[in-house]
Amino acid sequence: MLEISPRKKVYDVCVIGSGAGGGTAAKILTEGGLSVVMLEAGPRLNPDKDFKEHMWPYQLAHRGVGVGGRQAGIGDEFMAPNGFWEIEGEPYTTAPGSSFRWFRSRIEGGRTNHWGRIALRFGPADFKPHSTDGMGDDWPITYEEVAPYYDKVESYIGVFGSKENVPNAPDGIFMPPPKPRCTETLIKKACDRLHITCIPSRMAILTKPLNDRDACHYCAQCGRGCRTASNFSSSQVMIPPAAATGRLTMIPNAMAREIVLGSDGKAEAVSYVDKSTKTEQRVYARSVVLAASACESARLLLNSRSASFPNGLANSSGVVGRYLTDSVGSDLAGVFPQLEGMPVHNHDGVGGMHMYMPWWLFGKKNDFLRGYHIEFGGGRDMPGVGGFQYACDTHEGYGVSLKQAVRKSYGTIIGFSGRGEMIPNENSYCEIDPETKDKWGIPVLRFHWKWGENEQKMANHMQATFRSIIEAAGGKVLGEEQSTPPAASAGESHQIQQQPAARISEGGEIIHELGTVRMGDDRKKSALNRYCQAHDVKNVFVADAAPFVSNADKNPTLTIMALSWRTSEHMLDLAKKGEL
């Protein structure tokens, strides 16, 4: 045990993680008058050095794809050092027969730096899945309780969209959406014929100035970082106002190891490894907010063992690490001859889609439960490595005719991605690997993963739907042998990938993993109460996606921020009453 110095600094709150949840908590708590120390496992973000906005592929050593051409997509040379599937010295393991990929962002702002900015509210039924169809569990809170916090988040971060009254896809407080691109006009018409709802997307990108941030300038490169912060990231929009209060102490390169309990049974400190000096450190706080990402927060609790919590802190229920879900993902691309020889025009738009398809069969009888939404993109994006394979393989040969064939087919591919709801199952969870430690000596996570039958049926439905949309729009489905990922907008975080028919994504691949420290009214079946406060340890809170009880077909980030805002306001109330 460390000697406790009589002069040690005790903060009101220690927030672990600086992403969507941690950044929101830091802003609300500091503006509410509390002192906050924030531990971030990565470095500070440096837009001057880190952002590749507006660079051309030929200005980068590897034209964007990284050393050996192996970093296409989310880890490529265009992206700020936003995160990685594999981190040197910080492994995770998978149980035999399971496959799972875990994307981690060790940098100020976390995954909000590369977030696709898709900002969808969960709907009323998403908070009551068990009541709706008998599977899974209901949240302890309702849509109506969260709605005011969606309002606050959207008003502050800026989200474009349109009022549509789509069942279970609630409208929000929206800026005007950008006009559709040609590819989107084409697909929208096909969807209208098929009675598939296709509406303006809902993205955390400004189309009007807001709080010192200029409107989007339509360069399509959100994922590379935005110097005008016209898109949302915690690093540029949440952390600065928190820092401006003078009550935020940011400790970068701090890898949290354990939450330390005091003699009163409450958390009193967080021990961490200072990665820059490789020393063990400790910060003291009257309360702790875990916002390290769902699995990292579960890992931290499971690694915080003591005599009173032999199975991990706040885990008397045994649910920590359980109920792990990710979105169901499946992709298909088509080629559209009518897009050949389009007039030269600027197709960029925002970094991502202007239109999308919310789940259009809500409340209908389907051969699977729950639903999915469809994202799509393609067309005359900034040319990128990997974007010409279809044209080359189709034309073959060489010479001027090949060159002309590639030009003719440029911008004619549109890719579709389904993102659906997975129902938690007992075979999908994470736990501490008893054998493996990371380079800091911290035991790592071991993942167990299995998709259920419902998810496979849903992926099949996605494939059939994509096929019907492609054909209705006059296109041709690209076969597996023509597996060319179109150069997704350079700013898009998810590259369009062609998959074998009925392929379902790998667990974790969609980067919507959540549910591992779930909330609930019954302390035997949940770790957190309705305010994301630990049942067992009253001064421990969780503010990432770990508290989620279900993983609706709505990207989780907006809900993470709404819940974190709500939890933070609750903490301010407790502080006023002297109960924090």
Binding site: P57, R63, T185, H217, Q338, V344, L402, G474
Partner: protein, 195 residues
């Protein structure tokens, strides 16, 4: 033209010109637009020294790239677009690429030596055409299975050359990509029949 140091200095000065009174680390749009045009002017300088191919191999690679995507009346080709440099650099870092391109060059020289008693680069243009026409089409492997590997390797180089050319300044212009710029409003899809 700007070198990397002056670009960094420019960006630094921009980041200090943050909107007065703002606590956000953002730069105003007009400053960002200036930075964009400065970056656009930036050019890599200096001649390229191959990292993987030897002198003969690099000469062969350049010749192949030039044949796959040549200059024409509309625009320069793979050589102007720096495809050989791009291919050499990535190949120096990737053993799978080394195997494929090494295999292709070896096959070309061996075949040309057998048939014409010359290496690929020293063969006459019509001799080169004769060889390439054998390995530029997948269907040729149906009648001669020994062509399977060279066809696969050539297809790989064709894709690689296209990647290098169409991501170059000249190649991007040739394709007609018009973006990576600043718009105050996104105009949407222009009027196009059938769309």
């Amino acid at each position: 033209m700007m070198d990397r140091v002056s670009r960094r200095a420019l960006l630094k000065s921009l980041s200090m010109s943050v909107a007065a009174g703002s606590v956000l680390r953002v730069i105003p749009l007009h400053a960002a637009e200036h930075a964009h045009h400065a970056i656009e002017e930036e050019q890599a300088a200096g001649a390229y020294t191959p990292k993987f191919f030897d002198a003969h191999g690099y000469k062969t690679l350049r010749s192949l790239c030039d044949t796959i995507l040549p200059a024409d009346a509309d625009a320069g080709g793979a050589l102007e677009g720096g495809a050989p440099e791009f291919i050499d650099m990535l190949t120096s870092e990737n053993t799978e690429y080394q195997e494929k391109l090494g295999g292709l060059l070896k096959w070309l020289d061996a075949t040309c030596t057998t048939r014409y008693n010359k290496t690929w680069v020293d063969s006459a243009p019509q001799q080169q055409t004769e060889i390439l026409d054998q390995i530029a089409y997948r269907k040729n492997a149906d009648s001669d299975q020994s062509l399977g590997k060279p066809i696969e390797y050539f297809s790989f180089l064709r894709n690689f050359t296209a990647d290098g050319y169409f991501t170059s300044k000249v190649g991007i212009h040739y394709l007609g990509y018009k973006g990576n710029t600043y718009l105050t409003e996104f105009p949407g899809c222009p009027p196009v029949p059938g769309v």
